[in-house]
């Protein structure tokens, strides 16, 4: 109690502000603290992309090509086909064979036909079944004495840069930049508005520009960490190539991150509840997860869609990252993608500034 009395009686003195106590520094520190003290955020930004990369890398690893399982209902045919190393032949009775074909345990079913013929049953929309069909046909023809007219030598290429893991790491990197950019900025601002913290800050002499700038600065530092973690893991664990200049890769990541942060800012500019913000985030991000070629090439969509798909910011980001990492392309080669990201950045940032509500 006596301490307290002493404090109460002592007149409070105004003190000048030290450099580290400057508001931009303090605001940026707050951003870091809020991030580090949120375990879920760390999981989604750092751990989840690495787990996903590891999972995809293992699932689609390019080990020795696996033999394709097929079913055969005849002993003679089974003996002939067993000589083909790319096929794993199962001798089955007719009923079991039908069941296994339906369940996808075998890709193809071989049954003898009257008159020395052979019937192949398979689903032609399944590439592995089609392959199995070609292999069975070739093995049977060769066994019957047919000779190849054109000598063919197969050269197996399993170089880094052309595997699925190489394709998917830049995709995951782009997806991660989108998620952390949009959520990192959007969520924090909507949360502050919902708690009326934004109103309290505006009632103080805080510089509004510095408040927004603090998001930018913290984003850039976190960006460095999350890109290093994900790309580093890809390089070390799977030998994913980084063929382009690293500083250009960094520049592309910064541009992509700014572009998505600006989109997050736009979504947060008036939204008052977390639920509404989540809805808008998903509305914006979901189409890009599907169309922008994170896990598979957007070439699979009809050609008429391609010009629109290429205008999506995530498509631009991923295309540019792939060109840099896999093809070693320079900035001049990804100029269209850079332009698309820059366009989205400018558009969303100025729209956000015009719409933004501090209350």
């Amino acid at each position: 109690m006596s301490d307290r009395a002493a404090v109460l009686d002592r007149p409070l003195r105004a003190v000048p502000l030290a450099f580290r106590e400057r508001s931009l520094v303090q605001l940026t520190l707050v951003r870091f603290r809020e991030f580090w003290r949120e375990p879920e955020a760390i999981f989604w930004v750092f751990i989840f992309p690495i787990l996903l990369t590891a999972g995809l890398g293992i699932a689609f690893r390019s080990g020795p090509a696996q033999a394709l399982p097929i079913g055969v209902t005849d002993d003679g045919l089974a003996a002939v086909l067993q000589a083909e190393p790319s096929l794993s032949v199962r001798r089955l009775d007719a009923r079991t064979a039908e069941d296994q074909l339906r369940l996808g345990r075998i890709h193809l079913l071989v049954t003898p036909e009257a008159g020395g013929g052979v019937r192949l049953r398979y689903d032609d929309t399944n590439p592995e079944s089609r392959t199995a069909g070609l292999l069975v046909e070739r093995a049977l023809q060769r066994a019957a004495g047919v000779r190849d007219r054109v000598p063919v030598t197969a050269e197996i290429a399993r170089e880094p840069g052309s595997r699925y893991i190489d394709f998917v790491v830049p995709g995951l990197l782009g997806m991660n930049l989108m998620g952390s950019g949009m959520w990192g900025v959007g969520f924090a601002i909507v949360d502050a508005r919902r708690k009326r913290l934004l109103k309290r800050l505006v009632a103080s002499p805080m510089s509004r520009a510095e408040y927004l700038l603090s998001f930018l600065l913290s984003r850039l530092v976190l960006l460095l960490l999350e890109v290093t973690a994900l790309v580093g893991f890809g390089v070390l664990a799977f030998g994913v190539p980084v063929n382009g200049p690293v500083w250009q890769l960094a520049l592309l990541c910064v541009l992509a991150s700014l572009c998505f942060s600006a989109l997050g800012l736009l979504i947060a500019s008036r939204t008052r509840t977390i639920e509404a913000a989540s809805g808008w985030m998903n509305f914006v991000m979901l189409p890009m997860w599907v169309f922008s070629g994170v896990f598979f090439s957007y070439e699979r969509f009809p050609e008429a869609f391609h010009p629109f798909i290429r205008l999506l910011p995530l498509t631009a980001a991923i295309d540019a990252l792939r060109a840099n990492m896999l093809q070693g392309a320079g900035l001049e080669q990804v100029a269209p993608e850079v332009a698309v990201m820059g366009g989205w950045l400018g558009l969303s940032f100025f729209a956000a500034l015009a719409l933004f509500r501090w209350r």
Binding site: V15, Q26, E34, K195, R196, L197
Partner: protein
């Protein structure tokens, strides 16, 4: 340090603010002297928060003049923000920051201000200095909000319902802190719907109801305006069906009679004389008095006299 000039810290004239079809503030005039602790007292929805938020430059009035420290928000917003301390109703500061980090953040917004450690000590939060906000009680949060309002060494401090939702002990602790700020000569404008808070803390009080100021003065003046004196409250067994308020009013020293939920409230100039007369009258009529209390008239009684309603605690 706060200036001690006789200038007005706050001048409001003809203030008006309407939300859609609700008139929140309906022609309010105020003048707060530098160094004064001024209270806006009124029930919820009386327009106190709207009035104070217009003064804080957070809301635009529809009409009227607001001059803070001799300056207008239109021309001097930047300068004013540096010189004011503000505590808003239900602001939630970041739960993940510690007390010290929060005060340091707010300190960083001001060109000049108080030492973070001093403000934390003043608000009696030293033990919680390293605690995150999620670990603080309601009273501690409220003191932290005050610390954030105070850290810029403001000349004028706006406190919107500083003790709402606090238990009596935490409220009394906050009153002591506000007393300490008054002793330093800081100008304080606060809103409250607790009449004892206004009476205890404020040099002058404006009573608001339905967007208007219905009474203005020192607590003593306001109480004197309804005749001051005392209030005698009593109830009678059986609800007092045969009791005529006119007869009560005719008793010696009774100035007015009010009946409220089966309870009678008499305003009297002098309870020494009024109570014996009252009891004698009751005995004469064989009406048993079940409960009898007297208290000095309060701001609550002023509000009841002016509006016919009670200020209510939610």
């Amino acid at each position: 340090m706060p200036a001690h000039s006789p200038k007005l810290a706050l001048r409001v004239e003809g203030l008006r603010k309407t939300y859609k079809d609700v008139v929140a503030v309906d022609g309010v005039d105020l003048a707060v002297q530098a160094g004064e602790c001024f209270g806006l007292l009124g029930p919820n929805g009386a327009g106190k928060t709207t009035t104070i938020e217009i003064c804080e430059g957070l809301l635009e009035p529809d009409a009227g003049v607001v001059e803070v420290l001799g300056l207008s928000w239109r021309n001097s917003a930047r300068q004013l923000r540096q010189r004011l301390g503000v505590q808003l109703q239900d602001t939630q500061l970041s739960e993940k920051l510690t007390v010290e980090e929060t005060v340091r953040l707010f300190r960083s917004f001001y060109h000049r201000g108080l030492a973070v450690e001093d403000v934390i000590a003043l608000m009696q939060l030293e033990e919680k200095r390293k605690a995150r906000l999620s670990a603080l009680s309601g009273g501690q949060r409220q003191r932290l909000a005050m610390a954030c309002a105070l850290v810029g060494d403001p000349e004028l401090l706006f406190l919107d319902e500083p003790t709402t939702g606090l238990d009596p002990q935490a409220r009394r602790q906050l009153w002591e802190l506000i007393d300490a700020l008054k002793r330093e000569g800081r100008t304080i404008v606060l809103t409250t719907h607790y009449m004892e808070e206004a009476e205890r803390l404020c040099d002058r009080v404006a009573i608001m109801d339905y967007g208007r100021i219905i009474a203005l003065g020192t607590p003593a003046e306001l109480i004197a305006s309804i005749g001051g004196g005392h209030v005698v409250e009593f109830s009678v067994d059986g609800g007092g069906a045969g009791l005529d308020p006119g007869e009560l009013a005719a008793l010696e020293g009774v100035r007015s009679v009010r009946r409220n939920n089966g309870r009678y409230e008499l305003q009297v100039t002098d309870w020494h004389r009024a109570v014996p007369c009252l009891l004698a009258a009751m005995v004469q009529r064989r009406i048993p008095v079940s409960e009898l209390r007297t208290h000095s008239a309060t701001l609550e009684d002023v509000f009841v006299t002016l509006t016919g309603r009670h200020l209510r605690d939610e």
